[in-house]
Symmetry: C2
Subunit: 84 residues, 2 copies
């Protein structure tokens, strides 16, 4: 079971970290033309629901991954709206 939890944690780290290069790119370039507003709007709603799912099922990797993903996706969405 510990192996499975570690796999979940690694998955959580990777998917959560994945938003960081996009966030850094958006902040640096201030260019968001090719980024989809629809993607990051739906993504924000989705990860927020995943967060609640994680809380209700008591899955720590899901809670951690989706709370951090939500914050990063929200900032990317903010930049998309600001610089579109």
């Amino acid at each position: 079971m510990e192996m499975i939890t570690n796999l979940g944690l690694l998955a959580a780290v990777l998917t959560t970290l994945s938003l960081l290069p996009q966030l850094i790119r958006v902040i640096r370039t201030k260019s968001t033309k090719d980024i989809s507003t629809g993607m990051f709007s739906l993504f924000c709603c989705g990860v927020l629901l995943w967060f609640f799912y994680g809380v209700l099922t008591n899955h720590v990797p899901i809670i951690l991954a989706n709370s951090l993903a939500f914050i990063q996706a929200l900032i990317i969405l903010f930049y998309k709206i600001k610089y579109k």
Copy 2:
């Protein structure tokens, strides 16, 4: 418990659907300048591990969401590499 499963399914639908507007945009515009290669590379690895985590913990929403997310993210990554 059914309510929690439905919440997970809705979260799965939203996060999975979220990649579709980005995928359509990339196919239509063939422009991927603002999209981060790092994001979609890490994201592909992450959702693949989430998929295995879902299989091992027997969570259908996690399995469904991440298998479809992987396919879409992989196509976006392909376009990013092709049109960069």
